[in-house]
């Protein structure tokens, strides 16, 4: 199983491309898929850390972590794959409105005569039209993207990155955080609310990983302990989260790459073939209906009318 299948890549649509192009495209999408899985794992680990502080239970925390990781993976997959559009390619004109393709290939003129041909012949016409379309693809690589859409995606991913970065930092610096919390505990009088409820574990729920009941206090310890280093670590995690999105948006191998074009051609081809089939079988059904003898039954029709009247 190819990793790229995890993000919805279907290698079958690239059958007509040279093998080296297909291999390169598969390397790219397998790599992107792997980065998304890694990001999902990072989110999962971070979610587990947060849950440990809240629930003090490995079982619940791992469950929550897996759930969060899966949500982030799917959200990220959605952001990336919907970023693969045809803006800047001449194919967009046909992909946005498939009828343009029918008009250009005179397929409307087949209405009423398509029934004469076998399905395989119709399929051949659709493929021929697709090949013709492929041969005249024109790319404008400097075509701008919708800034609002980009900004929304960057904002959401940045937000996720900063949230999950803190979780990782808590894991990495857990010993130091615990020492800071221990120092705070020693500084507080035993009747202090924080001492009693935040820094002292319940008898049946010992602390795991972090010796506190509070996420906010843990953040505070992390923030005051790391200072500007926290910003640096946040930037590292932010960069990790942003790389797949930047690659999807900026790499010409992906944005106007062979897979995206072939996928669009595949979709256009599918609808073209089904359009022709629809024309054919519409004509067949229409002819059969026309030839069908439907005898008139006065009383039966009257009974129905009466029943409808009563119901009304």
């Amino acid at each position: 199983m190819q990793l790229s299948e995890q993000i919805g890549i279907d290698s079958d649509v690239m059958q007509k491309l040279p093998i080296d192009v297909v291999n390169r495209q598969m390397v790219i999408f397998n790599s992107i898929s792997l980065t998304l899985i890694v990001i999902g794992v990072i989110s999962s680990v971070s979610g587990t850390i947060y849950s440990l502080i809240i629930f003090h239970s490995w079982l619940i925390s791992i469950g929550v972590g897996i759930f969060i990781g899966a949500v982030v993976f799917n959200l990220y997959r959605l952001f990336l794959m919907t970023g693969l559009d045809l803006k800047g390619s001449s194919l967009a004109y046909y992909h946005m409105k498939h009828e343009n393709h029918y008009i250009e290939n005179n397929l409307y003129s087949l209405d009423g005569s398509a029934y004469q041909y076998a399905d395989e012949v119709l399929k051949g016409w659709a493929v021929e039209a697709k090949d013709k379309l492929r041969s005249k693809i024109n790319i404008n690589s400097s075509h701008p993207r919708n800034l609002f859409t980009v900004a929304v995606r960057v904002f959401v991913i940045a937000l996720l990155a900063v949230i999950f970065a803190s979780g990782l930092e808590i894991l990495i610096f857990s010993q130091s955080i615990n020492m800071a919390l221990s120092g705070l505990r020693q500084s507080l009088p035993t009747e202090d609310w924080t001492y009693k409820y935040i820094l002292t574990p319940n008898v049946d729920e010992p602390f795991i990983l972090i010796d506190a009941n509070s996420l906010l206090l843990t953040f505070d310890a992390l923030d005051s302990g790391l200072g500007n280093w926290k910003t640096l670590l946040d930037i590292i995690v932010f960069t990790i989260y942003m790389i797949p999105l930047i690659v999807i948006y900026r790499s010409k191998e992906i944005r106007h790459g062979a897979y995206v074009q072939e996928q669009a051609l595949h979709e256009i081809n599918k609808t073209t073939y089904h359009y022709l089939l629809t024309q054919k079988y519409c004509y067949v059904v229409f002819t059969e209906v026309k030839e069908m003898e439907i005898p008139f039954n006065k009383y039966e029709n009257r009974e129905i009318a009466v029943a409808e009247t009563i119901l009304a």
């Binding site: 790219i28 980065t35 800071a180 990790i240 797949p244 690659v247 191998e253």
Partner: protein, 304 residues
């Protein structure tokens, strides 16, 4: 390799390098170098529990009582009553030894010209203001004020007296559009004190006794009391230009101040001080109202 391939390959390389770095971090044992664990307790106590600091400070000051006794003789008693930002009215009764007042006045006059006069007065007046500082501390403890409320309570007490213009003999009251000499805090037209040599500023102790002062006297008094109380945040003097001319304000370095319009960064320490106007009694915002439109050439004057 063409540019298209290079772009993708480089981004992948960067991704995996960062992942490896992230995985390696726990094994690099960076905790000691990067993590400063002593900060948490200090910050927490500053923001959430003044009691401990107040108690520690009290013990420290009690050790100095013998010194206080030796300078006290006839005492000047004062009773201040004012409304703070939270709408509460506070009352502070305190006594200042006459000898301490005289010494503060003489110290102000004798300050060497090459020394920062604010530093000299701040250092000198500490002992003389002990009773007053204890009074502030008692209010904080009795009212269970957090550091922010305590800060507001102190600054509002400094703002409470009406503005009085302070000048020197070379630019006496009654000249240049100034009010005539009466040296009293009163509503507009404000009072004026001249012959306040050599820097046209009263010391914190003199302000505590007389209640007369303009921008630098009031700011210096508030700063001195905040520093003596040691509430856990930095208070310094700020000086610079506003549309009315050269001016002084109180600067406080507190976390997440709600009022950020006017602030000055100390380039030596990187700390940001929020400018607090001490000459007006405007409690409309938590950290003082932004009364100036122009705010230029401001710098932090460190007092210690």
């Amino acid at each position: 390799m063409n540019n298209e391939k290079r772009y993708f390959n480089f981004s992948q390389l960067l991704f995996w390098v960062l992942i490896v770095l992230l995985i390696a971090l726990p094994f690099l044992k960076l905790d000691e170098g990067l993590f400063n664990e002593s900060e948490l307790a200090r910050r927490y106590i500053v923001t959430d529990s003044l009691n401990r600091i107040a108690l520690e400070e009290k013990e420290e000051l009690e050790q100095d009582e013998n010194i206080q006794d030796s300078v006290s003789g006839i005492a000047i008693k004062r009773k201040w009553k004012w409304k703070s930002f939270d709408g509460k009215t506070y009352t502070l009764e305190f006594a200042i030894p006459q000898k301490a007042y005289d010494a503060a006045r003489q110290n102000r006059i004798d300050l060497p010209p090459n020394e920062n006069c604010w530093v000299g007065m701040y250092r000198h007046d500490r002992d003389g203001l002990k009773d007053m500082v204890d009074g502030y501390r008692n209010i904080i403890e009795e009212e269970k004020l957090n550091y922010r409320q305590a800060m507001q309570m102190v600054v509002s007490s400094a703002q409470n007296f009406n503005y009085t213009y302070i000048t020197i003999s070379q630019e006496p009251c009654g000249s240049g559009g100034r009010s005539s000499q009466d040296c009293k805090p009163k509503p507009f037209p404000y009072g004026c004190c001249d012959n306040v040599e050599p820097w046209a500023v009263y010391s914190p102790l003199e302000y505590a006794v007389n209640g007369t002062g303009d921008c630098d006297t009031k700011s210096l008094f508030a700063m001195a009391i905040l520093k003596y109380l040691n509430l856990g945040f930095d208070a310094e003097m700020l000086m610079g230009d506003v549309e009315a001319g050269h001016h002084a304000m109180l600067g406080v370095s507190v976390p997440n101040p709600p009022f950020r319009n006017l602030s000055v960064k100390d380039l030596r320490t990187g700390k940001r001080y929020y400018a607090w106007e001490c000459t007006v009694r405007d409690n409309s915002s938590e950290l003082g109202a932004p009364v100036w439109q122009m705010f230029k050439n401001w710098e932090v004057v460190t007092i210690n």
